[in-house]
Structures are given as structure tokens and as C-alpha cells.
Symmetry: C2
Subunit: 281 residues, 2 copies
């Protein structure tokens, strides 16, 4: 089986490396710059590397789109006629409704199955890619109702091979509502904390919690601007709920209501502990 991984950045590069040795698979990387091409060859990221997407698509039974969100949307539009009949096409985009909508432009002969490998770090590009990036991460799939179940199973098998902790199938709408809270909100929170005028003065007084909570604030701006914009309503609702929950803590403190504070902390920390019991981290 021939696979084309389009875009060898942090995610595409890590994905190609993590797929190395998958039985019967030969991977072609598709890149746009000679610089990335040279690096990909040097690091033996995949079996072949090309700068010609048409050539790669013509030969690929599996195509994995690993570019930023809007580049995936335009690639689908531009190359809708270039995929091999019978090909499985998938992606890595952190929002799924917009991608699944764009994929409707593809001919019926192509099986598009949305994917979201829930991994990343604050440094982008192939230089930072690593085969172990997906360890302990969730692999989310958003198949269409008409998707071939054998194709879905193949992607799940590959996810397992790449070291993902588990695979979850859901709808694009559910996915986007969930990750507004679990992922996008964490990034908004981290940058909002760094907007505080105290930030600079307070360095030297930060503990592990500060380092952990603001780690993702050093984000890839164009990528996250796209991700947030493509999921704006769900994310805005998540932020509003967090504002409400923070206000309740603030009001308990302002009222000097230690009993309410203790009750709230008992409930919240209990909810957190329950997630740890249900799914140890």
C-alpha cells in the first residue's frame, strides 16, 4: 500500500516517522520547500519525498493531509479531481466540521475519513517532529455515515501502531464541541493568564502549576488563529462557562464565605479525581 503524507511539519513528520515499518506500507512525503525536502531525506522521515503533489496523489491509495487547517481546505478544493479512485483520504485538523464540509467536494470514488491526532507541542516544523509524539494521546476519527468500515478499521490499526493510547469515533459536530472545551479553552486560558500585567514582575515566583498551565501559551499563532476561528461559537460558549465558574469562586472569596469555598473545592477536586479514577492519566 502506498501512502502520501502531504506536509512534513511537526504532525506530518511525526506521523510519517511513527508509521515506519507498518506492514506493507510505503510512505511518500509531499513538501513545498527544498529545505524541508533535504531535511526529510537526511532524517529518513519516509521512503520518498517529492515536491510534486500530483505525482504523489496519482500513486497513493492513502492520502494523509497534514497541513494547517485552511491549507487542508484549499488543498481539498484544488485537488478534488486528483485523488486515485478508491483512495482513502484523511487529515489531522483540530477542527472537523469545516474539514468534513470541504470534503463533500470530493468525488464519490474517494473515501474521506476525518482524523484528529490529539498531540502537539509548542514548537512546530519537521525539526521538532518525533516518532514518539503520539504516545498516550487520543486518536479521534469522524467517519462519514457512508465510510467503508474496513477503511476506518485500517486507520485505527495504524493509530495503534503509531502508539496512540486509544481511538475514538464521533461526529464532526460532537468533536468540535468537545475540543472547544478540552483543548481550545486550555490555550485561551494560557494566553489570557499571560495577558496579566503582573506576568513579568512575577517571574521567580512561579511553581509547577504556572509552568504547566501556561506552557501552551507559546502557541503557533497562525495555526491557532485558524483553529479558533473555525470553531468560534463553541469556543466562545466554553469561555463564557469558565468566566461563570471563575466568578463563583471570586464571589465566595469576596464574601469571605470559607464554608462555601470549602464546599466548592470539595466538589471540584472530587470531579477531577473521578476523571483520574475513570481514566488514569
Amino acid at each position: 500500500m502506498r501512502a502520501a503524507v502531504v506536509g512534513l511539519g511537526l504532525i506530518g513528520g511525526s506521523l510519517a516517522m511513527a508509521l515506519k515499518g507498518y506492514p506493507g506500507l510505503r510512505v511518500t512525503g509531499v513538501v513545498r520547500s527544498e529545505n524541508t525536502l533535504r531535511k526529510a531525506v537526511e532524517r529518513r522521515v519516509c521512503d520518498e519525498v517529492t515536491m510534486d503533489p500530483m505525482e504523489a496523489l496519482a500513486g497513493a491509495e492513502l492520502v494523509w493531509l497534514c497541513m494547517p487547517p485552511k491549507a487542508i481546505l484549499s488543498f481539498l478544493e484544488e485537488h478534488k479531481g486528483d485523488f486515485r479512485p478508491g483512495a482513502i483520504v484523511t487529515d489531522v485538523c483540530g477542527v472537523k466540521t469545516a474539514v468534513m464540509q470541504a470534503a463533500r467536494a470530493l468525488p464519490e470514488t474517494v473515501d474521506f475519513i476525518g482524523c484528529h491526532p490529539m498531540a502537539g507541542k509548542e514548537t512546530s516544523k519537521l525539526d521538532n517532529a518525533e516518532a514518539t509524539l503520539f504516545q498516550n494521546a487520543h486518536f479521534i476519527l469522524t467517519p462519514r455515515p457512508e465510510s467503508d468500515l474496513a477503511h476506518v478499521a485500517l486507520l485505527e490499526d495504524m493509530a495503534q501502531y503509531m502508539g496512540f493510547r486509544d481511538t475514538v469515533r464521533t461526529t464532526p459536530e460532537e468533536h468540535d464541541a468537545m475540543i472547544a472545551y478540552t483543548s481550545q479553552l486550555m490555550h485561551v486560558m494560557a494566553v489570557a493568564v499571560c495577558d496579566d500585567a503582573e506576568l513579568e514582575r512575577c517571574m521567580g515566583f512561579e511553581g509547577g502549576s504556572f509552568r504547566d498551565c501556561t506552557r501552551v501559551a507559546a502557541l503557533d499563532v497562525p495555526l491557532w488563529t485558524e483553529l479558533f476561528s473555525l470553531n468560534a461559537p463553541a469556543l466562545a460558549r466554553s469561555i463564557a462557562r469558565l468566566e461563570d465558574n471563575l466568578r463563583a469562586y471570586r464571589q465566595a472569596l469576596e464574601a469571605g464565605d470559607t464554608r462555601l469555598l470549602e464546599e466548592k473545592l470539595t466538589a471540584s477536586s472530587g470531579r477531577k479525581r473521578k476523571t483520574l479514577t475513570d481514566r488514569p492519566e
Copy 2:
């Protein structure tokens, strides 16, 4: 030199272990339960362990109070006459104004110097103590104007020996204003996120950012109720500022203002990156 570490919980236990081998130092642990006494002896946490604070205080040239905040305040009140003349007394409390105020009750022959080892984890008690807990952590000191500088230097030397990343001297008021933001706010944020009705449904869709940002939500409720209550005004102000900063992001999203969103993300992530350049994590 004889030191008494009063309270062999997570912090006191780790501190005693980290001080092991400090030149010329002999450490007596003071505990309240036979269970902890037995464990401390088994794990050789310190040179001696006793359940009699009076005996330990009578012999100690250095006393390190490692109990929860309010227990430190009442210990100072109860034992103000029991410290050895010339003794250095210090503590580990995460708020400093209240402790420094309580220490005013001590006789002039005792040098009280507030300390805050900025380390911890979500599990408490001696079972979870470890000599390496303080690696990469800040050690904050709040000496009084009349403190003996040789005593301050001794504590700083011990902090270095225990593996702290650095030591910082400041005033109790400054300390409390700073940690309201760098530490307490991170804990409020983490519990507020876990108050979201979506929490349970969303497990399976969380990434590294969710795990990191909510890690501290599984907090020690009595301890953090005390810490928050003893610093309520500063913490409430920090929460209010975060609410404002979150609202600004929400409004940009609701307005569909991608340009403003990108500008805000550029500024915030730049502020975060600058802290990383100034002080690599």
C-alpha cells in the same frame, strides 16, 4: 547544629530527606501520630523522630514549621515561650503576611524568617515525600528587617543544598500579591475548568494541555481552603483580571474579528515566549 522539622507530611518529609547529609546538621522530626512516627523511622527520614514538640524545641537551634497554614499560626501562639533563645525559626507556608504577623508574638531572642518552598504535588502525606521534590523550584524568603543576615544566608545555603533552583528574598506583602497570581490563580482555574458540566462527557477528547492545566485541580481541600482564605483579597483581584482577559478573547471570537484575534494571540504568546527566554523553564 540541631534542627527540628515540625510536621513530616509531603513538604516536611521531603525537606528532612533533602537536608540529609547537610554538614554538621542533625534533624529531629516532630510528628503527631504513631503511624507517621513508624513510617519516618522505617524510611530513615531524619536522625530522630519524636511526638514531643517541647523536647524537640528545647534542643533545636533551627526549627522548621511544616504544618498546614492554620496549624503553623496556632503552633506559634501555643509555643511562643518554648523556643530556645537564639533559635532560628522558619516555616513553609504558601502565604506569608499572616504567618509573619503571628510570628510577632515570639520573644525577641528568636529570629523568625518566613520561607516558602514553591513545590508540591496533588498527593499529600509522608508516603509521597521525596528528597527530589524541590528540584527546579524557587525558594522564597521573607526575612524581617531585624533578621540576622547570617541566618538568612544559612537558610539560603540549605535551600541550595536541597536542590532548589534559586532563592528570592522579598516582603510578605509582595510575596502574597505575586503568588495570588502565579500559584493560587492556577489552582482556581483548574478547579473552575472541572466545574464545567461537559467534564465527564469530554474525557477521551483531552490532550496534554487539558492534563497539564487541570493537574492541580485534585488539590488538598483543607490546605487550599486555608491558603485561599488567608490571601482572599489578592486572589479575588487576580481572578477578576483573568475574567477580563478571557472576556476580551470571547468578544473577539463573537465578533468574528480574526484580525484582532491574531493580534491578541501574537501579543500574548510573545509575552509567554519572553518569560521563557528570560528564564528557561
